[in-house]
């Protein structure tokens, strides 16, 4: 049984090493390990029954993760009312699922998409939404505060949800959350529960760096530095609610869930 745990750990580590910057991958692997090994099946004398119990729990974990997006989409339907305007930042498949389900339920709403430079996530998202016949408007990233008056709510996904209840997401999320908070607009985060990570950043620089090159279109003189970080940290006080497969949670519940799992 110990051998099996060691094998699992090795497999998890090699999977994590493929992309060391991805928080959801690390968090997912860690949670999977905890979930699977945290069972009294390990005390069973019979190796085969213990193994089948582990496989059962592993499959259940996989099932929960697959279904997570459907559950989140269902839970968020109550929050999208007819005639509302939603601001979306970044390309999150969970948020796309939420909006797809709302469109299928014949809700009338419009979406404002930030351009999402330099990844151009806004263009991809607006393509998808146009296919669903949802009215979409593209904004440049700097036009968020300008348009915040007409927005009813902000919807973002998350790369990782940290212990404090804050989120790590694409660069620009913190800015949007700050503007929304100062203008009293709710910020909703749609994230699966396997993204809960045991990290606790105290400020923007307190995370593992994830850099990606930015193409400005024109050559930059070599003496000029460029901020290339791909993501930022949004503290929990700027987030209103988290839609997860565990339910609709307030940011403070993330730590409770992690404590119960890790204790």
């Amino acid at each position: 049984m110990m051998e099996l745990e060691i094998e699992l750990k090795k497999a998890s580590d090699s999977l994590k090493s493929w992309d060391t910057t991805s928080i959801s991958l690390t968090a997912g692997c860690d949670l999977f390990m905890r979930y699977v090994t945290r069972t009294s099946a390990l005390e069973y004398e019979d190796f085969n029954s213990a193994k089948s119990r582990l496989i059962e729990r592993a499959e259940k974990f996989g099932e929960i993760s697959y279904k997570a997006r459907r559950i989140i989409a269902m839970l968020s339907q109550d929050f999208i009312f007819d005639g509302c305007t939603i601001l979306v930042h970044g390309f999150s498949r969970v948020v796309l699922e939420v909006l797809k389900t709302a469109a299928q339920n014949k809700k009338l709403f419009r979406v404002l998409c930030t351009e999402g430079r330099p990844d151009r996530t806004g263009l991809r998202l607006s393509n998808e939404l146009a296919k669903l016949d949802v009215p979409v408007k593209l904004l440049i990233d700097s036009a968020v505060a300008y348009s915040m008056d007409e927005i009813d709510m902000v919807f973002v996904g998350a790369d990782g949800v940290v212990e404090s209840g804050g989120i790590i997401n694409m660069m620009g999320t913190y800015q949007i959350a700050l503007v929304a908070h100062s203008m009293n607009k709710p910020v909703y985060v749609a994230a699966e529960s396997y993204k809960f990570a045991r990290l606790y950043p105290l400020d923007q620089k307190d995370m593992a760096p994830a850099l990606r090159p930015i193409d400005f279109g024109v050559p930059i003189p070599s003496k000029v530095e460029v901020e290339t970080s791909a993501r930022d940290y949004t503290p929990p006080q700027y987030l209103t609610l988290l839609f997860t497969d565990l339910g609709v949670l307030t940011p403070s519940v993330v730590s409770d869930e992690l404590i119960q799992l890790y204790l």
Binding site: E163, S164, G165, R198, Y200, L202, D203, D206, P236, S252, S255, D256, I259, Q260, Y262, L263
Partner: protein
């Protein structure tokens, strides 16, 4: 009155032993001596008689100095262990079990807990940091020493206050280790806070709503840190968590010696309040503890990891359950 208990009580009275962990360990070690020398009187059961004896010693300690939350939790633990002893156990067996339980408690809840706290906390210290701390906390001292051993480049700002001036002993030890320190009093806190990148504070207790109960002046430091957007990290072992909720510093506190604030030792010409102390409309208020609301705390570092202040009731709930299973 057992001599070990008497000795520890006098240490509390004189202030030789101070600080939540030190007081708790001294008390538990005194109780170990008591248990070692204990023999059940005839016609009495060990558990009831020993519990009564412990209670009488606890009231003696309370006379010397009111109990801290850490001591209160340790006493609850000891009493529950005594109550759980099976009646069929022989006296010598019971005594050795209790003594090893106390050893186990001290080791697991204080010594190992401190090691875990230090290992978590040093990950939050980066090169070039300016760490601010207040007064003298055993956990914070261990963190600073460990970070220095690991070769991290940082400097310390130590804020102190009258009348106890507890920071001075900590200052000596840090300087002796080669850590560069700045020493100041709490009246300069708003001046010095803009230099600090992290604030590390100790706690006497953490209450159920995330409120931190610690040495008077800590709340001030945390409030100024919050105003300057400096993260406040409170380091506290989990055995100091308590279910009660306190909204302000007055409803439950400890009063120190009023003359300590009226007089400045060694400066006779500044003792303007001589003779006024007896006046009816003057009350000299020397509070020992104060209460810091959870909004000022960025994270609490415990042996269960780094948690936000909103997760304290979860730990209290889980920790008590583990307690019952022990």
């Amino acid at each position: 009155m057992h001599p070990a208990v008497y000795k520890v009580g006098l240490h509390y009275l004189s202030g030789d032993i101070s600080g939540g962990n030190a007081r708790c360990i001294a008390m538990l070690q005194a109780f170990q001596e008591v248990i070692k020398d204990y023999s059940t009187p005839p016609e009495k059961t060990l558990s009831r008689d020993l519990t009564a004896k412990i209670s009488s010693y606890v009231s003696f300690f309370t006379e010397c100095r009111p109990l801290s939350v850490s001591m209160g939790n340790a006493i609850r633990f000891l009493k529950s262990r005594i109550a759980k002893l099976p009646l069929t156990m022989s006296e010598s067996e019971a005594k050795t079990t209790l003594q090893s339980d106390i050893d186990h408690f001290i080791n697991e809840k204080i010594i190992v807990a401190d090691k875990v706290i230090v290992s978590h906390a040093v990950t939050k210290i980066r090169d070039g940091d300016v760490l601010l701390t207040y007064g003298s906390s055993s956990a914070v001292e261990m963190i600073l020493q460990r970070a220095h051993e690991l070769g991290k480049q940082f400097r310390v700002v130590l804020v102190d206050s009258r009348p106890k001036l507890e920071g001075q002993l900590l200052l000596r030890r840090l300087v002796a280790k080669g850590i560069s320190c700045t020493y100041t009093h709490i009246n300069a806190i708003s001046y010095i806070m803009h230099e600090a990148t992290r604030v590390f504070l100790g706690a006497s207790a953490v209450l159920s709503n995330g409120t931190v109960y610690s040495r008077v002046g800590t709340a001030c430091v945390a409030m100024v840190a919050h105003a300057f957007d400096v993260p406040v990290l409170v380091c506290c072992e989990a055995y100091k968590f308590h279910e009660r909720v306190q909204l302000d510093s007055i409803c439950s506190n400890e009063l120190g010696d009023p003359h300590a604030i009226a007089n400045v030792p060694g400066r006779e010409q500044l003792n303007f309040l001589d003779g006024c102390a007896k006046s009816d409309n003057l009350q000299l208020l020397n509070l020992i503890y104060d209460v810091m609301p959870s909004d000022y705390v960025s994270m609490i570092i415990t042996d269960y990891g780094m948690v936000p202040p909103t997760s304290v009731p979860v730990i209290v709930r889980e920790y008590r359950r583990e307690h019952l299973w022990m």
